[in-house]
Symmetry: C2
Subunit: 176 residues, 2 copies
Amino acid sequence: MERLPEPQTLADGKFIRLVRRGKWEYASRKGISGIVAIVAVTDDGKLVLVEQDRAPVGGRVIELPAGLAGDDKAHHGEELASAARRELLEETGYEAARFERVAEGPPSAGMTDEIITFFVARGLRKAGEAKGDGSEDIAVHEVPLGEIDRWLADRKQEGRRIDLKVYAGLYFARRS
Amino acid sequence: MERLPEPQTLADGKFIRLVRRGKWEYASRKGISGIVAIVAVTDDGKLVLVEQDRAPVGGRVIELPAGLAGDDKAHHGEELASAARRELLEETGYEAARFERVAEGPPSAGMTDEIITFFVARGLRKAGEAKGDGSEDIAVHEVPLGEIDRWLADRKQEGRRIDLKVYAGLYFARRS
């Protein structure tokens, strides 16, 4: 691409930095080494989704299990596959026998420098309590792939938002 | 969701604002009424993609045709379907007989308040010059759906990034 000037920090929040680079502005997360999203499909063909409050969009969002790699000292320098394993277990209570790295790319390349790595997880086994069990913010859903368009439409009807990465996940779930 | 305090602007760029809301921080685009992405499939089964420089990720990105609605005076209050029609023509030179709204959601709900609306465009007809024709920054690609996984892998090999919304678009292209 054309040669760009160095990035210049316009403002420095606790978690996010506002950056200018040439004529562009964008947001950048601080202190992470990557972001992972997990397309977890059970042996009986259900996609594992999470639902949580998302202040930026002011409501509850249906999403793939996902999270930041290397975002605290305990996870510093963490490999992406390890982060995927950890996030899947923490958010959903599932372990997986196999993680296949299927894609990586920006979710919104005009707005942020985020790059998210997708893993398809197979051979799932319930191994612990999900954050969604109990009073926590995260709810876990297991949705048969054959019924998912209808299920997502029903959730939307109830006022939930559907993260666009869910549809990308469906592409990989059906392809692989 | 839980009750949130009002958003508070931490920093105000030309195009993007850094916002704090409770314990959250996120980036917000200024002065737009929506964002559209277009899954344009030709009658002979090719997906129309664009490729352009994206400073936030420091390189060239393969994406769905997309753009902002209502981002200047000429487009103020623009309907999303009109924005989809305009962006498709401007970026690729294609007009479409039918636009079907298939989804809307956040690309990165923990990071920005962006909500992107997806349209599937069918009945394509080449109606003008794409920005990609000539010396402009945008290149247009028409890729047979049956060969697209291989094509994307080849582009990645060359150092291009693949916007994750391309995979979401493929889900809708194959479903509808």
